[in-house]
């Protein structure tokens, strides 16, 4: 009875103060809220919070833990938290495939749990929610966009955004720009075309669709040998993008072409796969593109977060965009027009013959997959992948957890028109390092070698002069972003599986990190 009264009072209080998201909060990284996948539109994952800093981080301690319990019915579900939680008005919202939760941001107490009855699809991960006012949006492995009421987790509506029977599956967190819910799709098992869509926040109706490969007769069609190849050419849109409100451009890294490892049926550069593209979020029209991997045959999509940097080049203030790309290159572009400023590998590579006049890497045909195997660095998982990087404007460094990995790439389908992957790769060796890249030069300012293993942890930097991330052994670590010296760590039961995030409530800063099936909140007690 007491509990019920408490719940009632809580609900009353929330309805008085409002639970929804003030859209103005999306424009700037605030201290009291984390309202979108990357915290703000820039993709920097740099928080202005400094309450936890180098002087007190050694006293950082566990505030609460929330462990997912799906029960027996959850067998086979993928309970690894890859989503970055949103935090709005004291409530955290996060997801895994088919499941969503709201928990109290101060205590980790569960407020609601929503479960979607799946029709199938690859359950590899989910990157979280987008939010518009009182409504939350997330995507499912069977390609539904679901709208929930943030107050109680009840479903408002769902719409299908792709066909699971064609092997699409969806993982990205929707990004909300004004009244556009921007949703992407994934799936490269069976040569389906990629696209990005904007949906109406009230109804889920389609506003526009941008195809990531051209249609017959369109600009870019000459980078494919024929209509069938480009309309089955892949280019998935599976990692949330970034947005510049002044330029009104949405930036997205696109997926690899299909068939993934057999390129003989799709000769050409295969636009706009493996590219950084700038789109008008009101119309879905392409403003510019830069192709990170022309004619990719190694599964090296360029989906990694393109990070917006307001920096200086040769003393001139510039609007820049940077990506530590899966193929091992760091790219710096002018985000007003896509012109390349810098292309420089951030790991040792053996597949590139340098870059062309546009700054785009030139792949070495000898390192494409062959029937008897080619030894290539990096492996298909890449030098980087979806785990979010971070840019610290105070150090001028872009931080990325990078893999140096060798793999044997085999071409298995030698037909003129291969299908599916058309090849396999078998990883033989991998080492992981946290790298700090000087955005102006591409030089590695410092590198912290973790040792053998695979990558997978996102990064957060803060004005407290701290960098938070995970290593391949289950440690959650705070580093000095200027030097890479470790300042604090704790060992969790699983590797950090998402991008850490932070917020301040009641004068207390919280650090939230997902590791496997649990969320952990850390703070410094006063």
């Amino acid at each position: 009875m007491k509990l019920r009264r408490f719940v009632f009072l809580t609900l009353l209080a929330t309805s008085l103060f409002g639970q929804g998201l003030d859209p103005a909060k999306l424009m700037k990284l605030s201290t009291d809220t984390w309202p979108t996948y990357n915290g703000d539109y820039s993709g920097r994952r740099f928080s202005p919070l400094a309450r936890i800093d180098a002087s007190n981080v050694t006293a950082m301690t566990l505030a609460w833990e929330y462990r997912i319990n799906l029960g027996a019915a959850g067998e086979g579900d993928n309970a690894s938290i890859k989503s970055t939680p949103l935090e709005v008005n004291g409530v955290l919202y996060f997801t895994i495939p088919d499941h969503a939760w709201a928990v109290d941001a101060r205590t980790g107490r569960q407020l609601w749990h929503y479960k979607w009855e799946t029709h199938g699809g690859i359950h590899i991960g989910n990157r979280g929610f987008g939010m518009y006012g009182d409504w939350l949006y997330f995507e499912t492995p069977d390609n539904y966009l679901i709208c929930l009421n943030a107050k109680d987790g009840t479903e408002r509506w769902h719409v299908e955004i792709a066909d699971v029977k064609q092997e699409y599956f969806s993982t990205p967190a929707p990004i909300v720009v004004r009244n556009h819910i921007i949703v992407g799709v994934g799936g490269d098992s069976l040569d389906v075309p990629g696209y990005l869509e904007a949906r109406d926040p009230e109804t889920g109706q389609l506003q526009w669709r941008w195809n990531s490969t051209p249609r017959k007769g369109e600009f870019g069609a000459d980078t494919w040998p024929n209509q069938e190849a480009m309309e089955h050419g892949g280019g998935m849109t599976w990692v949330p993008g970034t947005y510049d409100p002044e330029l009104n451009l949405y930036y997205l890294g696109t997926g690899n072409p299909n068939p993934v490892m057999a390129g003989q049926g799709r000769k050409g550069s295969n636009l706009w796969t493996c590219s950084i593209v700038a789109l008008n979020p009101d119309t879905g029209k392409l403003a510019w593109y830069f192709q990170a991997s022309p004619h990719d045959t190694h599964d090296w999509d360029a989906a990694q977060t393109p990070v917006l940097i307001d920096g200086q080049i040769n003393g001139q203030p510039r609007k820049l965009i940077a990506q530590a790309s899966r193929n091992g290159y760091f790219f710096l572009l002018d985000r007003t027009n896509g012109k390349n400023i810098l292309s420089k590998p951030f790991i040792d590579l053996n597949w590139s013959k340098g870059v062309d006049a546009k700054g785009q890497p030139i792949p070495d045909p000898a390192k494409e997959p062959h029937t008897d195997g080619t030894l290539v660095i990096p492996a298909s998982g890449g030098a980087s992948n979806w785990p979010p990087p971070s840019f610290d404007p105070e150090t001028g460094l872009l931080y990325v957890n990078s893999s140096s990995s060798y793999s044997l790439f085999y071409l298995t389908d030698t037909e003129d028109k291969p299908e599916g992957y058309g090849g396999r790769d078998s990883g033989v060796w991998s080492k992981v390092a946290l790298k700090a890249i000087d955005y102006k030069t591409g030089q590695i300012r410092w590198s912290h070698e973790y040792g053998r293993g695979g990558g997978g942890s996102g990064i957060l930097t803060t004005a407290g002069k701290l960098l938070f991330t995970g290593d391949p052994y289950g440690n959650f670590i705070a580093y000095d972003p200027a030097t890479g010296r470790s300042l604090w760590h704790t060992h969790l039961p699983a590797n950090v599986s998402n991008g850490p995030m932070t917020y301040e409530l009641d004068g207390k800063q919280y650090l939230i990190v997902g590791a496997g099936d649990s969320l952990y909140a850390f703070t410094v007690l006063r």
Binding site: L411, T412, D471
Partner: protein, 281 residues
């Protein structure tokens, strides 16, 4: 420090320290009608697939290709949205029986059972493309065994640790060529594939830990990160140490030569070595 070790042992904390991180996801549930991580729809009955293949090759293959991936006049049915949408012939049946006069496809009077079998065959063709883990790697023994032998005894310096009559005697009978190529490139534990348990190191890595007091403990490495090191000594006892001030960790990686070679192999060297190792039968 010795006391600290003793306390750790006494408190029974060893399993906690030694425990590897929980895998990031649960392994997929077994036996879901032949499904796996990549295949989320039912896998068709083998016999139905074989019957369907015979019907398909005889009646449909001329236009759609005997593998159903398209021909001169018929579209690819592996990628066909209609064929992917089909369940047991419900979508392809009407097309087969009525034909598509506008596209030049005649009607085929197949029985219900024949249509179901053709649907099973098409599903199996789709799943063969979808499930990349089942793709067959072709012949990889393409190199020159003599050149491989020369590399083994020359530039590769493989013979400084290995012998074709000693540890590598009959090695080609133990591993197929694909496994052999992968293992000589780097013999250490692989990253576990989805659903697999993490592999324990198969090759012992000697380690010496020197404590601030000057005491040294030798054994085989069990765990190493930036903050902790763990080893098992010659008597099988487990020891773990914080990598604090003054603690030195000296790891002798027996696979260091393999790691060095990764950067040096040309693909030709690699294929020549496979051809040479394949002669060791």
């Amino acid at each position: 420090m010795k006391n600290v070790v003793a306390v750790i042992f006494a408190a029974g904390l060893i399993p906690l320290v030694a425990q590897p991180p929980r895998p990031a996801q649960a392994p997929p549930g077994p036996g879901r009608g032949g499904r796996n991580f990549l295949i989320s729809r039912d896998v068709p009955d083998r016999a139905a697939v074989e019957r369907g293949q015979k019907t398909f090759v005889a009646r449909c293959g001329f236009c759609h290709g005997s593998n159903a991936n398209g021909g001169e006049s018929g579209p690819d049915l592996v990628r066909s949205v209609l064929a992917l949408d089909d369940e047991g012939g419900d979508k392809i049946g009407p097309v087969i029986r009525n034909g598509r006069a506008d596209k030049g496809m005649p009607a085929f009077p197949l029985s219900d059972d024949q249509i179901k079998d053709v649907a099973a065959f098409l599903r199996s063709r789709q799943q063969a493309a979808i499930d990349r883990n089942t793709y067959t790697i072709q012949n990889i023994v393409t190199g020159d065994a003599k050149k491989g032998q020369a590399y083994f005894n020359g530039a590769g310096r493989c013979n400084s640790c290995h012998s074709p009559t000693g540890d590598l005697a009959r090695v080609a009978t133990k591993y197929d060529p694909v496994a052999l190529q992968s293992r000589f490139i780097y013999p250490g534990p692989r990253r576990p594939r989805r659903g697999e348990e993490a592999q324990a190191p198969t090759i012992a890595t000697p380690v010496t830990v020197t404590l601030a007091s000057g005491q040294t403990i030798k054994g085989n490495l069990e765990y190493l990160d930036d903050f902790n090191v763990a080893l098992r000594d010659a008597s099988g006892d487990y020891h773990s140490f914080e990598r604090g001030t003054g603690v030195k960790v000296d790891v002798r990686d027996p696979l260091a030569a393999h790691e060095e070679l990764l950067k040096k192999y040309s693909d030709e060297d690699m294929h020549n070595l496979v051809a040479y190792l394949e002669t060791l039968k």
